[in-house]
Amino acid sequence: MSEKFEVTNDYKFGFKTPEHYHFKGGVGLTKEVVEEISRMKEEPQWMLEFRLRALEVFQSKPMPQWGLDLSQIEFDKIHYYVRATDRTNDSWDDVPQDIRDTFDKLGIPEAERKFLAGMGAQFESEVVYHNLKEKWTELGVVFLDTDTALKKYPEMFRKYFATIVPPEDNKFAALNSAVWSGGTFIYVPPGVKVDIPLQAYFRINAESMGQFERTLIVADEGADIHYVEGCTAPIYAKHSLHAAVVEIVALKGARIQYTTVQNWSSNVYNLVTKRAVAHEDATMIWVDGNLGSYKTMKYPSVYMVGKGARADILSLALASTNQEQDAGGKVIHAAPNTTSTITSKSVSLNGGRASYRGLVKIHKNATGSKTNVQCDALILDDHSISDTYPYIEVENSDSYVEHEASVSKVSEEQLFYLASRGIPEEEARSMIVSGFVDAIVRELPMEYAVEMNRLIELQMEGSVG
């Protein structure tokens, strides 16, 4: 059991297409690079000023002193801007051949082939393919890459942009604010319910290239939307940095679900700030699956600022050899009668380290609020690590907080039972892990649930020595 699971180069998605870039900025981060990015994108003056201010914040903030060790990130050796094609495409035929080849090799799930028409596929730092279903256009749904949205809807964009995650929030949010490129912008008008999940596929494909996408989703009063992002990335020798910012606004009575299946290759630093604000009676659901990456630090959060708002966070982390998954969630109750749940499942195997880090905060005025946190960890061998860091802060006596955590291993009884049914040990372990994470996986759209189970099996291969 203690035998080490070898990392081989035949990682499922470990291929790369020859780099063929329209524009690739130099390495390193300077004022000139930021100005160049803004100039290339023909941005308004306020955005340039915003970026420069963010750059100053980034340079003045120290690296975080908590969580994972990030000291190996070499900010000077990263490309801060790469553009694959010089414009976004309206139809699939316009997408360059080598980029299409990559998507083919990736085996884009059926879900995406089917709804390709409504998909924003991000290749490199920008969305290269964009097509909105006619139906949604009629309903007034805006589904664009963030750069285009800034051009086409400048006022709406400015109204919400950086209001949820300001550059001053943390060092990596500042970095993103300075050099952001690409990402998704969604606006759903009042009362509109989008019944098919909107999806985007992300990839990083240039060595030492950071990806700094910026996503902004606004659901107007009573609107309903489910957004799905999934990531796979090829393996590279040098460490890559992914520092995204996701901002979500759920106005009165809106419901937003944001689902992530993260499977970055094992050299990527995944440092993402995801935050939502839920107004009166709004519901925000984060489903966050973390399978890949070298080091992940990600805590989707919900600020419940309107009475009756609700937040659900479902977090899954699977850490194998050389991986550290520091995941979790934060719920901030800042209005009366708000409710929230956090469900976290983490699995560590083959020497990996999985952590839950979370915050529950009940402010003074959040009377009648309720929250329940459940975090479970499964450790599959004697050299893997599982940590739990929950923070509970309650300033209101008329509320109720529950927190429960457990750490366990696959028991001999479970394996014995499955063995008695003729199931070999490796398969049995895989089944037990699948059962353990089921509470999260069943919240995924079916195609993703299938993919998730496949990814877990892949991770588990060779874990029985």
């Binding site: 002193q65 009940i362 450790i379 940590d387 509970i392 802060e393 006596s397 429960e404």
Partner: protein
């Protein structure tokens, strides 16, 4: 000696600023308070002031198995000259009760640093009752080291009434098969920072701890309990019960670590807070760091108020609202009173 004293950058000191305490001041006072030994122990059980212990048991005082002493506590230990020394000789100690009482009234308006040692020899049993009475003053510091020998049993009951800025440290080291049942009732006013480190260093060591605090007025209590499972088959149970009134603030850190060399360990941290006022605050940070698969580890935490249905029931039986709530709180603290019956009156007086 210079130690890197904590700053607010340190995770354990983020909510109680270390610069509120000035350990250098504790040098200025040589009189800590009135130390009373309310007990006449049997043969082989020694209870004496630290100064006397230096003459009688110099070697024992040098021996300390506790590995992880916070720097702040180390400083207190260097400065502290007064305190008590409890030593249960091998072959002695058959469950006797030893009572010690610290009356801090002599240090009113001044500062003090206490330093205590408890050594329980292998295969002995003792019950230690420690009372700290404090009418108020500037600041007080204490560091207590406890060593429980192989197969020994310690029952340790602590009643702390802390009415000034107080830093209280205890380091508990358990050897193979040793058992410690620790019960603490803390209340008072002012700012209290409690740091406890328990090391389960021998196979089968067992720690069972109940920590109760009543935070009222502006009482600020920040209690950190670190449990390190360093040997196989060790077991720990930490229970925290907090009652918060007025502008009280009760904060509990639980830091539980199970290292790779401690398979078969079993740990659970349970924390419950009753928040009885609009301006009170309760925080819980129950951390787990687990480096091996063969463990049972978990924690549970709740923060809530009195159950309105229970109050309604009691009032329907003719009790007033205040009495009903009092009874509810008493019920909440049942386990404290079972373990430490004298505290029942204390709690009533406080509430």
């Amino acid at each position: 000696m210079n130690y890197n004293l904590p700053s607010t950058q340190d995770e354990l000191w983020r909510r109680t600023r270390p610069d509120r305490f000035d350990p250098n001041q504790s040098m200025t006072s040589s009189v800590v308070g009135d130390l009373r030994i309310d007990t006449s122990p049997s043969k082989g059980v020694h209870v004496l002031p630290l100064a006397d212990a230096r003459a009688h048991f110099p070697l024992l005082l040098k021996q300390s198995s506790v590995q992880e002493i916070p720097n702040f506590a180390r400083l207190i230990e260097e400065r502290g000259n007064e305190g008590v020394f409890v030593f249960v000789e091998p072959g002695a100690g058959n469950g006797e009760e030893v009572r010690i009482r610290f009356d801090l009234s002599l240090t009113q308006g001044s500062h003090g640093a206490l330093r205590n040692f408890v050594v329980v020899s292998p295969d002995t049993r003792v019950r230690l009752v420690e009372t700290v009475e404090d009418p108020g003053g500037e600041q007080a510091f204490a560091s207590t080291r406890v060593l429980v020998g192989r197969g020994a049993k310690l029952e340790y009951l602590r009643s702390w009434n802390l009415n000034r800025k107080a830093y209280w440290h205890s380091g508990i080291h358990l050897n193979e098969g040793a058992t410690a049942q620790v019960t603490t009732f803390a209340r008072g006013s002012g700012i209290s920072k409690i740091e406890e480190v328990a090391e389960l260093a021998g196979d089968g060591a067992d720690l069972d701890e109940l920590f109760v605090d009543e935070a009222k007025g502006r009482f600020h209590i920040d209690a950190g309990m670190t449990v390190r499972h360093l040997a196989p088959n060790t077991r720990s149970r930490l229970k925290v019960r907090g009652v918060v009134r007025d502008k009280g603030y009760s904060l509990h850190h639980g830091n539980i670590k199970v290292i790779r060399e401690a398979p078969g360990s079993d740990t659970y941290f349970s924390s419950r807070h009753l928040l009885l006022s609009r301006k009170g605050r309760a925080d819980v940070i129950p951390k787990l760091e687990i480096d091996i698969d063969d463990v049972k580890a978990g924690h549970g935490a709740t923060v809530g108020s009195v159950d309105p249905e229970a109050i309604f029931y009691l009032m329907s039986r003719g009790l007033t609202k205040e009495d009903s709530e009092g009874l509810y709180v008493e019920g909440f603290l049942t386990e404290l009173f079972q373990r430490f019956p004298e505290m029942e009156g204390e709690s009533r007086r406080e509430g």
